[in-house]
């Protein structure tokens, strides 16, 4: 076993540090060292998107990033998507649209969709389909996922326009319990 590397980073807004072997991927570090198991492994070679995280504002497959590479950087995982109270609009819309069946790909889709909405707050269906083409879902046929993302985009776009970015969907729209 090779000597471990000490890494200091920021994960979901909090300072974090860990020791990892040079060969350990960010995905392994998140799951096995930091116990952030919301990030999933589907293929371990960058083809399925189940391990998507946001690294310094950029959507990446954490299986293709080494743990040691995140020194001094900022990582957002699925565990950091929701505000401290309630859910992110994407999470709420995934539930309302039944956009998940088994749910294993869901964290990756939500992280990827969040990255899209940050770049492009009001995307078209074609843009959503293009952006999410790196995320495989085998259960849903994507229909309800695309609808959920478009609906969430619509909602957060309006919320943002009103300067209420941090509010949850239930606060923005009174009709949801």
């Amino acid at each position: 076993m090779s000597k471990k590397i000490h890494v200091q980073t920021t994960i979901n807004g909090e300072p974090a540090e860990f020791l990892c072997e040079p060969r350990q991927s960010l995905l392994e570090v998140l799951r096995d060292e930091l116990r952030l198991t919301g990030t999933k492994e589907g293929c371990n070679n960058g083809n399925c998107g189940a391990c998507n995280v946001i690294l310094d504002g950029r959507l990446v497959n954490s299986c293709l990033v080494l743990g040691a590479e995140v020194q001094g950087k900022t990582v957002t995982t699925i565990e950091g998507v929701a505000p401290s109270q309630g859910l992110h609009p994407l999470q709420q819309k995934f539930l309302e649209h039944a956009a998940l069946q088994c749910g294993i790909c869901t964290p990756g889709f939500i992280v990827a969709a969040r990255a899209l909405l940050e770049k492009k707050p009001n995307p078209t269906e074609a843009e959503v389909r293009h952006w999410l083409a790196g995320n495989l879902c085998r259960c849903t046929g994507y229909d309800k996922i695309i609808r959920a993302v478009l609906d969430a985009a619509d909602l957060s776009f309006r919320a943002r326009a009103n300067g209420r970015e941090r509010e949850t969907i239930s606060q923005v729209r009174g009709e949801f319990p």
Binding site: R35, I110, Y142
Partner: protein, 753 residues
């Protein structure tokens, strides 16, 4: 929230699923997420060759590597011999099952497990695999069903003797079984036909493609009991298989199902579970084994490739007079392909007087096949439904009119024997015919519209549930069906409906094998039907006890108490009235809580029919087929949670589209799969698809208290045929081989020119 039909208050609505928040926030625990103190990591060494004898396994160097704690091989397992075990969804030869977990004496496919290591980290375990020396004596291999059936083909099993029509033939071959279904006289039927079409078809091996690789964690305790945490479609079938393979009584094994990241039939058979247990026994520590994606492709059950020949005839009026089929399916390394259901389904949509079907189960040097959503039916429908389309074309009859004319209905006898109860084949075709999609013009070059129908049996099997009334008027529901697509909610909704509660008032939990009564696998489109029925019966049990308790509180006889829509009333005194919640508050003070329980094994299963309509555009230069529009119509019985019913229809249709257009196990001459990754095994992405429109035709199943029918499987059946028929209308070529990938389409288009 939609309003319900048929007078139900809960059934037919769309509540948020109970496990939803955990699954959108990353908190839900799946197979690979299991962590525990002292955990060791296991890895599997797999055969690099498709066929050979194992001469020697030397693990001494691996065991010497620091951090390696144990190595196991087949020698560490009891030799089960040729025992046939009934495991809830079909019987299995334990010798085969055991050899599929760790090969004994021989390897029969590349990727078959040969040895396993437990070490302090996954990386150390992987290093150790490279240090295990296995000496093989390679044997000639065969990976194609037609070649495997030829005389002189390499034989996989020394002791495999073909059984034909129920009798051993004495002939050693790769054909495990030949069977036949007959009705009427096909020669006479073909003589009466004005049009006869006969075609041959080939379909490729495809994988279920669940996104979560297999994962299992085992702890063999010092008291001799074994606990296994795993991603499975059925905790009880895991327990049963483990008991047989490890030669332990079932009571010594506890199977704890984690959340499951997709299964589609592929997570019923055990692979890692007994191996992790054996490693835990040797080390005294918990051992977790996970597969990588290549292992999933090469080492777990895909669904078979097949060769099918279909001949069908119809008279001038468009009535089918006879149908004949020859189906040969690749079982993979061990007998047991789904050719049986394939043969039963191939003409199941039609009322045909004369039918003759021959089925062959054939072993080849590929992974042992597993169930995959309506196992066997998709291959079969690709063949029969494209032949039907050709007959329609020759007779110049609209393909939906033709199906209406020949549709199976209540009273139709299928060639394999059963007579249909109330079914919805006609209704789905009528709904497709009325749909705006079918009636819209499709303009433009190289575009075409295709239709196809499909059938799947669905099944019942055994389920158990217990439900306890909480003091706040809610009910905690404990059931044993692992939830792959929202079934906690569809089960809870049936209990809520029966008790007059809201879906949110029920707290469903999926339990392990020590916490709930025996429950069969999540498969066969059975869970909402059968486990939902168990929940319904548990609700009846609660109702009876609530009525008795109200009677006690009021000092009247139970027969003087009524229960309706969650309210108990005294028939002899209008002033006496308690809601479910009000009585629930009084339970502790009046004799203790109330627990309802049920165990069911329901008959009354309703078969499912689907009719799909698809528009495609074919690029004649590249062969790429673009799906422009897709409509899936299905008889779903009473839809319990319509969103998740639509989801099953959409997901099934898209798996069928992938099977039709892209997916296949590509093999080289050395018998190796050459595309064992998600990059090269091309499943549909969001960019490949339009929205999938759904039409739920609700023909209530008279065999279920709420009219529920299985919905999960049949939507995968029509797509390949519907797409083949659409491609024909677009560019005038009939494709008879799956997948209809760009290369094949271009070749066919060029050949036509």
């Amino acid at each position: 929230m939609s309003t319900s039909t048929n007078g139900y208050k809960v059934i037919g609505t769309r509540p948020i699923r109970h496990d939803g928040v955990d699954k959108v926030t990353g908190r839900a625990v799946y197979g690979a997420d299991v962590q525990m103190p002292g955990l060791l990591h296991g890895r599997i060494l797999r055969s690099p060759i498709p066929h050979g004898c194992i001469k020697k396994i030397d693990a001494s160097k691996a065991l010497a590597l620091p951090g390696v704690e144990a190595v196991v091989t087949a020698a560490d397992f009891p030799n089960p011999g040729d025992k046939i075990a009934e495991l809830g969804e079909g019987a299995v030869n334990l010798r085969h099952l055991s050899s599929n977990c760790l090969a004994r004496g021989k390897v029969l496919y590349k990727g078959q497990a040969v040895a396993a290591v437990a070490a302090v980290s996954p990386h150390v375990a992987e290093e150790a695999l490279k240090l295990i020396a296995v000496e093989y004596e390679p044997l000639p291999h065969v990976t194609d069903v037609v070649e495997a059936m030829r005389d002189g083909a390499p034989l996989l099993h020394d002791d495999l003797v073909t059984e034909s029509l129920g009798k051993p033939t004495g002939k050693r071959s790769n054909v495990a079984k030949h069977f036949q279904f007959k009705i009427g006289d096909v020669e006479k039927g073909f003589a009466e036909a004005a049009v006869v079409v006969e075609r041959e078809f080939h379909t490729a091996t495809v994988h279920q493609g669940y996104i979560e690789p297999h994962a299992a964690t085992a702890l063999w305790s010092a008291d001799g009991s074994v606990t296994i945490w795993c991603s499975t479609q059925g905790a009880f079938t895991v327990r049963a298989q483990m008991a047989e393979l490890l030669d332990l009584p079932v009571s010594r094994i506890k199977a704890v199902p984690t959340e499951i990241g997709g299964g589609f039939g592929g997570k019923i058979r055990v692979y890692l579970e007994p191996v992790a247990a054996a490693l835990s026994k040797k080390t005294g520590r918990p051992v977790k084994i996970t597969m990588n994606r290549t292992e999933v492709f090469e080492g777990t059950g895909p669904t078979p490739g097949s060769y099918i020949k279909v001949k069908m005839g119809a008279d001038k009026s468009g009535r089918l007079t006879a149908a004949q089929a020859y189906l040969a399916y690749e079982a993979g390394a061990f007998p047991g392909s789904p050719v049986g259901p394939g043969a039963m389904c191939i003409f199941a949509c039609y009322n045909i007087p004369n039918v003759h079907i021959d089925g062959y189960d054939v072993v080849v040097n590929k992974p042992a096949t597993s169930a995959y959503r309506a196992p066997g039916a998709t291959n079969a429908a690709f063949a029969s439904e494209t032949v039907v389309d050709e007959i329609c074309e020759k007779l110049n009859i609209d393909p939906l009119d033709f199906r209406l004319k020949n549709a199976a209905h209540e009273g139709t006898r299928r060639a394999d024997g059963p007579v249909y109860p109330r079914i919805g084949m006609i209704e789905t075709v009528e709904a497709a015919k009325k749909h705006p999609h079918y009636n819209s013009p499709l303009a433009g070059p190289n575009r075409g519209r295709g239709v196809a129908t499909g059938f799947w049996f669905n099944c019942g099997l055994k389920s158990s549930a217990t439900a306890s009334v909480n003091a706040d008027g809610t009910v905690s529901l404990v059931e044993g069906s692992t939830d792959i697509g929202g079934t906690r909610t569809s089960i809870a909704m049936q209990l809520a409906e029966a008790l007059g509660l809201r879906a949110e008032d029920v707290r469903p939990v999926v339990a392990d094998t020590d916490m709930v009564g025996y429950t069969d696998v999540t498969g066969g489109s059975r869970v909402t039907f059968a486990t939902g029925w168990a929940a319904y019966e548990a609700a009846q049990d609660i109702k009876r006890q609530m009525v008795a308790r109200a009677a006690l509180v009021w000092g009247v006889k139970p027969e003087d108490v009524s229960y309706d829509a969650g309210v108990l009333r005294c028939k002899t005194d209008d002033a006496k009235r308690l809601t479910f919640k009000e009585l629930a508050e009084k339970l502790h003070a009046t004799g203790g809580t109330i627990v309802g329980r049920a165990s069911v094994d329901p008959t009354g299963v309703g078969g499912g029919f689907a009719t799909h309509v698809v528009d495609v555009e074919v690029d004649p230069e590249t062969g790429k087929v673009t799906v422009l529009r897709y409509t899936a119509v299905q008889d779903v019985g009473q839809a319990v949670h319509p969103s998740y019913v639509e989801g099953q229809m959409q997901g099934g249709a898209v798996q069928g589209i992938g099977w039709a257009l892209n997916e296949e196990y590509a093999y080289n001459a050395r018998g190796e799969m050459t595309n064992a990754s998600f990059l090269d095994y091309r499943m549909p992405t969001s960019l490949d698809l339009p929205m999938i429109d759904t039409v739920m035709v609700e023909v209530a199943n008279p065999g279920h208290p709420y009219g529920v029918r299985g919905v999960g499987e049949v939507p995968i059946v029509p797509p390949p045929a519907a797409l083949a028929n659409a491609i024909y209308r677009a560019v005038g070529v009939r494709l008879t081989q799956l997948p209809m990938s760009p290369g094949r389409v271009v070749k066919a288009v060029l050949a036509k020119k």
